[in-house]
Symmetry: C2
Subunit: 427 residues, 2 copies
C-alpha cells in the first residue's frame, strides 16, 4: 500500500466536524477504497475550547500555517471569497499541496486564477462540496456528461430559500413570518441576505456554468434576484395555474451567448424541479442528444456536505487527475453574454390595482404596445374600492419588452404597488 | 501533451456507433478535457458492409484480435455473459489493456474475477454504461457517496418495462397489446424475455448492489420477477390507492443480511421514482446520514449510453485510478442474504373470485391465520355470478406469511385465478 495521505483541515464548523467524523469513524473502509490510509495530520479552527465529538490531528492556531505543514491535502472550510480562506488556498497550492474546498464564493470570484495555479503545479483543486452538498453535480458535469455537451443547467441550489418557499406554500403564511421561524429553527442564518437575496445561488451557478460551458466562472454577467418580494398570494396564484414558485439558478447556451440568471421562477407542477421540497436541492442538466438528467438530494448540512469533501479526498488519494473545471484553466473562455433582447420567456405578472373602471384596459394596452400578449388571466374581486389583484400569464416575450410595459404600468395612479414579474420555466 | 490514447472498439451497434460519432465529432474538445488525443485505432463488428455515418480506425474482422493490437483501451460493446465478449475482455486485460464495457450480464456473472484480473495488472475496467445509460450512478456509488455508506439502492433500471407500464397506464390497454406495439416501434426487442422477465434489471442491480455494499456481484441470491402478469386492472387499482406500478430493482442492507430483489412494486404517487415515465430510468440511493439521493434520465439509446462510455474513456485518459467495484476486488465479500422471514413489507393483493357468499370471509380468514392484517380494501361488483375482483392492501408482513396465505386461498374453489401480490414501496 502507498504511504498514508496527510490531510490538514481548516475550519471545524458543521461541515469540518462532519469530515473529521467520517474520516475517523470509517477509516478502515475509506483506506480500502482510497488505496491508502487517510490521516488527519492537522486541524485549525476559531475556537480551540469548543467541545468536539471527534478529535484528530495536531491543533494549529493559525490556519495559514497549514499551508506550510507536512500535509498532502489542505481542506479549506473557512469560507468567504477573500481573507484567510483565499490566502490559505493560494499558499497551499504555492507550497505544492492539493486543495479540497467547499468555498463557492472564492471559486466563483477567483476560480480561473486558482485553477491555473493548481494546474501549473500539477495539483488538484476539488470542490464537489461547494455546490448542492451530497449531489455529485460537479463531477457529473466535469466527467460524466462531456460526450455531448450541455445546453442548459437549472437548479434549486439554496436549501434555505427552498425551505422558506415550501413553508409559505404549505402554511399559507407570508415571507417575513416564515423567515423568522426558519431563523429560530436554524434553517436560516441570522444574516440571511446571501441566501434569500440569491447571492449564494449565484456563486454556485457560476461554478456549474463554468463546468457546463467551458468558461471562466463569471458573476458579472448574471442577473440575480432573490425571494424577498414573493408573497403568499403569488404562491397561491401559481398553484391555481398549475405551477410552483422556486428560486432557480439557470445557465443556458443561446444563439447569441450564455444566459445566466438567478430568479424566482414558476415551475410546472409535475416536473422534477417542482417536486424538490423543503431544504433539498435539485439540478436538471439538459445534455443535448443524451437528453435531460435530474439529480436531487440534501444540499447542505453536516453529512451530505462532508460526504462530498470526503469523496474529493478519496479521489485525490487514488491519484485521479484532470483539470479543475474540466478543461485546462488557461483555455477557459470568457463568457459572451446572451443578447437580453433575444432571450424569450413567458411571464407571470401580478398587479395590485384600484378597483376602478378602465384599469384592466390600461394594463392590457401597455402590454399590447410592448408586443406582450396574454395567455391567461385571473382577476379576484375584493370589497369595492379596495385594491384588487390582477394576475396574468403572458405568451413568450423578451424580458426587455415586459419590463418596458411594467414600467409604464407602474406609473399609473390606478396601480398601487410595484408589479410583480416572475418568469415561467417549462421544466 | 501526453501521447494519444489508442482505442479499439468491438461492436458497432447503436451504442458503438454513438461512441465513434462522439469521439470523432468532438475530438478537439475531448482532447482538451482528457489531456491527450483520443484516437480510434481499430474497430470490429459483425457486418463489415453496413453503411455507417462515422468511420474511424482500422477494420478488424476478428474482434478477439483487438486484444492483441496496439490499443491502450478495448471498448467491449458486443454483449452477452459468455462467448466472444468474455473472451475479449479477458484477453484484453491479460494483454495489459484497459477495458470499458457496457456489458452488465458479463460483469454480474464474472465481475469479481475480472476485477481481480484488472487490479492485478494495474488496469482499469470501467462500466458506467452498463447501468442506467447516461445517469452516472456507477461512479456516484463508487466515488461520491462513500463517506457514509449506503442503506439501500432502488431503481427503475429497464426502459422497456417502464415504457410498457407507462403506456398501459396512459392507454388503459393490456400488457400483451402494449408489448406488441412497443416491439413494432422498436422500444422492445423481438425476444423481450430478458427485459420483461426482469433479468436485465437483475444484472444491473447486481452491479449497483456490489458497489453499494462491497460485495461480489451476486445473481444467485436475488428474487427476480417480471411484469408479464401485471394487468390493466392492477394499474387502475394502484391509481385508486394513490400508487403507480413500476418494475424495481431493490438492494437493501437489513439486520440479517442483504435483501436483493427485482419485482413490480406499488410506488407512492408523489415520490420521485413514481414520476419516472416512459423509457427513462431512475435510481434512489439511501445514503445513511447523508440522506436520500435521486437520479433520473435516459437509461438507454445511442447518445446517453455512448456518453457513459466516453466518460469512462476520458477518465482512463486522465490517469484516474481506483478499484473496479470501489474496493479492492480481493476484498469484496460474499453476499450474506437477508433472512426471508425477517424482511417485511406491505402488499397489494388482488383476487379474482366467484361472487358467492362467504368468499371474502374465506380470504380474510386465511390472511388472519397467517398473521397478515388488512389496511384497506376495494371490492368491485360485476354481473351476478361473474368473477369479481377483491383488492386489498395489507399492513406490513413477511413475504413468507403472505405467500403462505395466498397458497391456501388459491386452493379454494371460489377463487378463479392465481392471486396477484405486489409489494408496496414507500419511496
Amino acid at each position: 500500500m502507498k504511504p498514508s495521505l496527510k490531510i490538514a483541515i481548516a475550519g471545524l464548523g458543521t461541515v469540518g466536524s462532519g469530515v473529521v467524523k467520517a474520516l475517523v469513524a470509517r477509516q478502515t473502509l475509506l483506506a480500502a477504497q482510497a488505496g491508502r490510509k487517510l490521516e488527519i495530520s492537522a486541524v485549525s479552527a476559531r475556537d480551540p475550547k469548543k467541545k468536539r465529538e471527534f478529535v484528530a490531528g495536531e491543533w494549529i492556531a493559525d490556519p495559514l500555517a497549514l499551508a506550510s505543514g507536512d500535509a498532502d491535502i489542505v481542506v479549506e472550510l473557512i469560507g468567504g471569497e477573500e481573507g484567510v480562506a483565499r490566502k490559505l488556498v493560494e499558499a497551499a497550492l504555492e507550497n505544492g499541496k492539493h486543495v479540497v474546498t467547499a468555498n463557492k464564493a472564492l471559486l466563483a470570484k477567483h476560480g480561473k486564477r486558482l485553477a491555473e495555479l493548481a494546474e501549473k503545479k500539477n495539483l488538484q483543486l476539488k470542490f464537489e462540496a461547494a455546490v448542492a452538498g451530497g449531489i455529485p453535480i460537479v463531477s457529473t458535469l466535469r466527467e460524466a456528461l462531456i460526450a455531448h455537451g450541455v445546453d442548459a443547467v437549472k437548479g434549486i441550489l439554496n436549501g434555505t430559500c427552498n425551505y422558506i418557499l415550501t413553508e409559505m406554500e404549505v402554511t399559507g403564511r407570508g415571507f417575513a413570518e416564515v423567515l423568522k421561524e426558519a431563523q429560530a429553527k436554524g434553517y436560516a442564518e441570522a444574516d440571511p441576505g446571501l441566501d434569500i437575496g440569491g447571492g449564494d445561488t449565484a456563486h454556485k451557478l457560476a461554478l456549474l456554468s463554468s463546468l457546463a460551458f467551458g468558461i471562466a466562472p463569471d458573476l458579472a454577467h448574471m442577473k440575480v434576484e432573490g425571494i424577498e418580494h414573493i408573497t403568499a398570494a403569488d404562491i397561491g396564484f401559481a398553484s391555481e395555474f398549475g405551477f410552483r414558485i422556486k428560486l432557480l439558478g439557470v445557465a443556458r447556451q443561446t444563439e447569441t451567448g450564455i444566459d445566466q440568471s438567478v430568479h424566482p421562477a414558476m415551475v410546472r407542477a409535475r416536473t422534477p424541479l417542482a417536486n424538490v421540497d423543503g431544504a433539498a436541492n435539485g439540478v436538471v442538466v439538459d445534455a443535448a442528444a443524451a437528453g435531460s438528467f435530474f439529480f436531487s438530494g440534501r444540499g447542505a448540512g453536516e453529512a451530505p456536505t462532508a460526504s462530498a469533501v470526503v469523496s474529493d479526498i478519496v479521489e485525490i488519494a487514488r491519484g485521479s487527475f484532470g483539470p479543475v473545471f474540466g478543461r485546462p484553466a488557461a483555455s477557459l473562455k470568457s463568457l459572451t453574454p446572451a443578447d437580453p433582447g433575444a432571450v424569450r420567456s413567458a411571464y407571470y405578472l401580478r398587479f395590485e390595482v384600484l378597483d376602478v373602471p378602465g384599469v384592466l384596459a390600461e394594463i392590457a394596452g401597455h402590454l399590447s404596445q410592448a408586443g406582450v400578449s396574454i395567455e391567461s388571466m385571473i382577476q379576484r374581486g375584493r370589497a369595492p374600492l379596495e385594491s384588487v389583484a390582477i394576475v396574468m400569464i403572458t405568451h413568450e416575450a423578451t424580458r426587455q419588452a415586459v419590463e418596458g410595459a411594467l414600467k409604464a404600468i407602474a406609473a399609473s395612479d390606478k396601480v398601487k404597488a410595484r408589479p410583480c414579474m416572475i418568469p415561467m420555466e417549462a421544466a
